[in-house]
Symmetry: C2
Subunit: 378 residues, 2 copies
Amino acid sequence: MLNVAETTGRSLFITTADLEDLAQGAAFLGTGGGGDPYIGRLMAKHAIEEYGAPEIIEASELDDDATVLPAAMLGAPTVLVEKAASGEDIDYSIKRLAQLIGKQADAIMPIEIGGINSVIPVVAAARLGLPLVNCDGMGRAFPELQMVTFNVFGVPATPAVIVDERLETVIVETNDGKRAEDLIRAAAIRMGLSVMISCYPMNGRQVKQYAVKGTLTLALGVGRALSQGRKEGEPIEALLEYLRSTEYYNHCKVLFDGKITDLRRETTGGFSMGHCELAALDGSERRMTVLFQNENLVARVGGKTVAVVPDLICIVDRETGRPVTVEALKYGQRVKVIGTSAAPIMRRPESLAVFGPQAFGLEEEFIPIEEFGERGRI
Amino acid sequence: MLNVAETTGRSLFITTADLEDLAQGAAFLGTGGGGDPYIGRLMAKHAIEEYGAPEIIEASELDDDATVLPAAMLGAPTVLVEKAASGEDIDYSIKRLAQLIGKQADAIMPIEIGGINSVIPVVAAARLGLPLVNCDGMGRAFPELQMVTFNVFGVPATPAVIVDERLETVIVETNDGKRAEDLIRAAAIRMGLSVMISCYPMNGRQVKQYAVKGTLTLALGVGRALSQGRKEGEPIEALLEYLRSTEYYNHCKVLFDGKITDLRRETTGGFSMGHCELAALDGSERRMTVLFQNENLVARVGGKTVAVVPDLICIVDRETGRPVTVEALKYGQRVKVIGTSAAPIMRRPESLAVFGPQAFGLEEEFIPIEEFGERGRI
């Protein structure tokens, strides 16, 4: 799906023309969370206009000893809208991390392709003149920093550099990924819940081994399918067709077609926690419940699970296919709930221990979405 | 007052025999706060027994470009008692700070001579085989990190390295002292409120210019005077006589002799906030109120101020002269309230802006203790 970006010889660049599709695809892969990429998209646009389009490279092109640094935003996206980031804070988090580990950054990578963190690395790569690696650590969005493949396979999350808009900096150093999340979250809250972060410094070998590959172009592809499909009047069909053609999201289906009849949402410990209930539009008595912690975690119909984390549960507008974040859910809204498989690396036992259902306090075991039939598990 | 430590040739060492007096003097200079030095004293004893007694040097002996690193504990002293510190965490905070600034530490210094932070630097100096500088940043105790002379005169508080008992580390970098306090406090709370910290890295010239000098031996002198005085049956007289002989605490008096009739104390944002009221023991109707935030801030008799921060207000047992911390205050306790002048550098306008009455939300202006008469200001 490289046709969505501009190719020059063998090099692939991400241009301002790609940003809307990238953001929309990232919103879908955000599975309700990850933050609205709107502000990030504007920042990426300005950065590309000023510094030029960053080159996209594949993980396989990295030297084993290349230094790859992730760029991300952490906090409440609503706060980001108010404060905006200068861009300087994004650079600074990368530069300070490079300095701390005594290396020069060779490439930037996204750590979370869902939501705003799909475009923050575009800003970083453009500003720093570095290539952007086509991969991330989950192929979706997750609420906590330890919930990435890199942590699953023992890559330390730290040193982690957290920078606010005044370039005030907090650095966390610990070998425990969950502990890093705790300490970083505490700092982010005190720094006003809109900070830039660079963490999980890696070499090329680690990226090649543990990243979820190709997810930047997958996000572009999702957005492109939705845009194209909308022009042709069948956005959701186009989306499903595209997803079926991918390596990770190929098991996909419309889990429910309904309207929102109940919504409970509260902000606890910096997270948007709650659930929504949907009634079927086909006149049947079927009801769906979706539980979320920033991201949608589990979808149940009549109390029976039909999809569960780390598989992706995405709520989209039933006409336009536009992804609806947890923040944007509204009573009466007519939506389709789409479920897709996660990347295979995300479904391994060691991965499920870190971001499977039980890591979110759910009682159920993980069952792959393709193993659920119409009446529950096949 | 160097007679309280063991002299070898021209060198002065702090030995295990000094620790009880040092801790008692430090408790007095803690003015109700600073933490009970008991655990710190045990740690210092073990460190001296294992690594040898650290040499005490004067600030004036420092080369201008010497690297001097403060060692301190931050948090709730009651938690420290439960968790204890390994000593390794103290070393590590110093070593990591040295590494961050790309220097070798030449000497250790106390940043706060009141309370437990009088003895933590003894542990650090013994373990690292470095001399300990006879000075600190206040000549007393204060609740917040920006409340030191170094910050008053523009020495950055950071990089600040905070280390917990698992050697997990948070580093804060900002040029704003109050902001450093906020970020460090947030980390310390998340780390369990018992952390070791090294911050305000300085060169010898800065220490010579801005430190409150001689305070380690002053704390030893206070403790020694109380111990000696107790043997002679007049601890408080002996204490006052010693204080009068000093350069900083020479304006001193018993502000009140009474018993505690009311006590309000609550823990808010990591601080012990409140006040106590005392009734005179001389049969008069005189009442004193002492307000505190960890440390005693202001003493008023019949509503009129008789001593106010940064001058020192210390509550001691009226018989033994033992300093009573805010935590240890009890209803019915018979105590004397002693006020002393602070070091001149602490009373300058720029200092008062950082830790004068208004920095604590008190409405009154600072008036030096020697300007108050029996019936209020002279």
